[in-house]
């Protein structure tokens, strides 16, 4: 076991797969010689050569389009989009091509690609370095959508994603690349090395896709969260003084409804949190499923705490971010009803 930041854990996953599978390739903007603007691929080109790890032109559509062609032939490209905010030029190739190739060709061709991208705000990146576009992918049949919240999961999920036979959108919550974040932006930041989940095995292991995990057991209310918001939810529960069960979804599509149902049937209350804008965010899907699956157990409406329906602002970042206060307020509201 080593102590790793999430960045190191992701790098270790790619290192592992580049080592044990010659068909794995890593490419994207600035990922080659330089090792990525967040350093996730640092050292990989030097170790594996530029035929395995290389720089691309600034064309996200080409990055994914090339990956689709390679994957159809049997390679396993794990590509980086520099920020999730820049994935839109590739939206056609991801949703119409990668996601559909297996089905439309009746499995003659498949598309085992991973599209990694840093997601979410909290780094003063303004509206084009802060977005959380997960719901734009969860609506697309054929995709899997994954988002880790710990270094351990990051490595295990990324290895599982690269090994998955289908296309995976792999969202990396950049606010917690270097340490957990409990939502107090003025507080001191804690590096991963001081957090237990930074214990990461050196070799190969996987965290299965499609399985949520209960991060904190509780009896009064269920909080559904993922990525950075898992920690913010933890802080909020403490602040609100409620005995919350916090579920870290880890995979949004396919969703682990069983774990969720189990919890909500127990608690009878549920709050859903995410950073993405509220309307038609992934929270809507969670609520739709939970109210249908657990209707007779619900003691109060399911509440959403999410980014406001506006672009992510630069200066008012912390007013936009669904921090512990807003979540705590929703928890209290849900408890009172």
């Amino acid at each position: 076991m080593a102590r790793m930041s999430m960045i190191e854990a992701l790098r270790s996953a790619m290192d592992e797969k580049l080592s044990d599978d010659a068909s794995v390739l890593v490419f994207g903007e600035d990922v080659g010689f330089f090792g990525g603007v967040f350093r996730c691929t640092a050292g990989l080109q030097e170790k594996f050569g530029e035929e395995r790890v290389f720089d691309t032109p600034i064309n996200e559509s080409a990055i994914v389009g090339l990956a689709v062609g390679m994957a159809a032939q049997g390679m396993r490209p794990c590509v980086e989009v520099q920020f999730a905010d820049y994935v839109y030029p590739a939206y056609d190739q991801i949703t119409q091509e990668a996601a559909r190739l297996r089905h439309r060709s009746n499995e003659q061709f498949t598309c085992p690609i991973v599209v990694r991208m840093p997601t979410g705000g909290g780094i003063f990146g303004g509206q084009t370095h802060s977005q959380s576009p997960e719901a734009l992918f969860t609506h697309v049949a054929g995709l899997k959508v994954v988002i880790p919240s710990t270094p351990y999961d990051a490595k295990g999920l990324l290895i599982a994603s690269i090994e998955d036979p289908d296309p995976v959108i792999f969202l990396e919550p950049k606010r917690i690349y270097n340490g957990p974040f409990y939502g107090d932006h003025s507080g001191k930041s804690v590096p991963w090395s001081q957090h237990e989940s930074s214990e990461v095995p050196e070799g190969h292991y996987t965290v299965p896709l499609g399985k949520a995990v209960v991060r904190q057991p509780g009896n009064d209310i269920t909080i559904l969260a993922y990525g950075t918001m898992v920690y913010v939810a933890e802080a909020a529960a403490k602040q609100a003084g409620v005995d919350a069960e916090i579920i870290d979804l880890r995979t949004l599509l396919p969703l682990d409804l069983e774990t969720i149902r189990h919890s909500v049937e127990k608690t009878g209350r549920c709050v859903v949190v995410h950073e993405a804008t509220r309307t038609s965010g992934f929270g809507a899907e969670l609520i739709a499923e939970v109210q249908e699956a657990c209707f007779w157990h619900l003691k109060a409406p399911i509440r959403r705490v999410a980014g406001w329906d506006a672009p992510y602002p630069h200066a008012q970042e912390w007013d936009y971010f669904p921090g512990p206060e807003r979540i705590a307020a929703a928890l209290k509201l849900a408890m009172e009803e």
Binding site: L25, E51, T56, P57, N59, S61, A62, G65, L66, A67, V68, G69, M70, A71, A72, Q73, G74, M75, P89, D92, Q93, Q96, E97, R100, L101, R102, H103, R104, S105, N106, E107, Q108, F109, T110, A141, G142, K144, P165, D166, G210, P254, L255, L257, E258
Partner: protein, 411 residues
């Protein structure tokens, strides 16, 4: 002294009720362009990109250096080529007919463009991969794709290799070097480059071939593809089928001020040639040269096939609303079947009689298969594929929520 700024709107040479007019198209003589060395660079390609490689002259003779280039085993290849084209016509004819009879929802012909896919495919090797559009069924015919599979898809019946999931004509035939067609124009072009990169990385000696229509060269995937090919230099042949129309839209709307599509490609530092796509010999010669060049590691190469879409865009289209009815007849490069036939007769390896006989035989072959395939159901007489098919293959393993949905559906 200022001029007024006025926007430009490209116009076709003639509209309905006008006389077809191709006088603005410059048709160079056959045989005047040489065969460049495989090291050809973009900077040295202007003559090929602005000119038009032609072998068959107006008298039906094969002339010039490109004719010499394919002089070996030509007879055999021409007999094969003519057969491919006649078979293609028979298939198009019968399937158009099936659509007219309401037996399928949709069909789309490649009339006038049979030489291109046919001649190209015959130069490929097993394991090479085409990334086609919906108008390259001639690749399938020349790859000897079973007619039963081809037609099964048109009827979306039990013979359909894709189990009814795709629109008729959107074939997928991996074993026959034919990538799954997407309805979204352009996307396949950069995928072809990715596939070719895979070939180079594996060192397997295979190549990829991208296909795109003149209209779809405007799509951004065209840029993605050319740029990626220019940067990484994989073994890919990038085909542009310029058939003058994109549904109702004249090719000038896609070309803008570019003289030719091949010229557009040169800007990326990729060599490009423009070829008479209605000249089967030219197709064979340039395809052979380009494929060999790519396979031998000289990097990407583009070919603009200059041709004319003689048929309507599809069975949903009525071209008489936007172009003269008889424009196809006025096309200065003629009809590929007629031209090859004339040449072969002149060459002494073909006769009018054999031609008529061959046409009849192929039509009979096609009709026999068609009849057999129609037994498995058509739109008029459906034999439904299981609805549960919808859920298979969305993922390798069916996730829980799809299982629930299938259950809800009753399966």
């Amino acid at each position: 002294m200022t001029r007024q700024t006025k926007l430009n709107f490209p116009h076709p040479p003639a509209r309905p009720d006008e006389t077809p007019d191709f006088s603005a198209i410059d048709i160079p003589e056959a045989g005047i362009l040489d065969v460049p060395p495989p090291e050809l660079k973009a900077a040295d390609s202007h003559d090929y990109a602005q000119g038009l490689i032609r072998i068959l002259n107006d008298q039906g003779d094969a002339v010039g250096p490109w004719a010499d280039y394919i002089a070996d085993r030509e007879d055999e290849s021409l007999l094969q080529g003519l057969r491919d084209m006649l078979k293609m016509r028979a298939v198009d004819k019968r399937l158009l007919n099936a659509q007219r009879q309401g037996k399928t929802s949709f069909y789309l012909q490649c009339t006038g463009e049979e030489a291109i896919g046919g001649g190209f495919q015959r130069q490929l090797e097993q394991g090479d991969m085409n990334f086609p559009t919906y108008r390259q069924q001639s690749l399938l015919i020349a790859a000897d794709y079973p007619l039963r599979d081809l037609m099964g898809q048109i009827y979306s019946n039990a013979c359909d290799p894709l189990q009814g999931r795709q629109l008729p004509i959107m074939h997928s035939a991996r074993e026959h070097g034919f990538f799954s067609i997407s309805g979204n124009l352009g996307t396949q072009y950069v995928q072809a480059v990715g596939w070719a990169m895979g070939c180079a990385l594996r060192g397997n000696g295979k190549i990829a071939a991208g296909w795109i229509g003149d209209g779809a060269t405007a799509s951004n995937d065209f840029n993605s593809a050319l740029l990626s090919a220019s940067v990484y230099q994989p073994p890919v042949v990038l085909n542009i089928v310029n058939n003058q129309w994109a549904i109702s839209t004249y090719t000038g709307v896609a070309s803008g001020q570019s003289k030719t599509y091949a010229e557009r490609v040169l800007g990326y530092g990729i060599p490009a040639l423009r070829v008479d796509g209605n000249d089967y010999l030219a197709v064979v010669a340039v395809s052979r040269w380009a494929i060999q060049r790519a396979r031998n590691g000289y990097g990407p190469i583009a070919i603009e096939w200059f041709t004319y879409r003689a048929a309507p865009h599809s069975t949903s289209d009525d071209p008489s609303a936007y172009r003269p009815k008889d424009e196809a007849l006025a096309w200065p490069l003629g009809d590929p079947v007629e031209r090859l036939k004339t040449h072969m007769i002149k060459r002494g390896i073909w006769t009018e009689e054999r031609h008529a006989q061959s046409e009849a035989e192929l039509l009979a072959e096609v009709m026999a298969v068609q009849k057999e395939v129609e037994k498995h159901g058509t739109f008029v007489n459906p034999q439904p594929i299981s609805p549960a098919e919808i859920f298979r293959g969305v993922y390798a393993d069916m996730p829980e929520h799809l299982r629930r949905q299938r259950q809800e559906m009753g399966y």
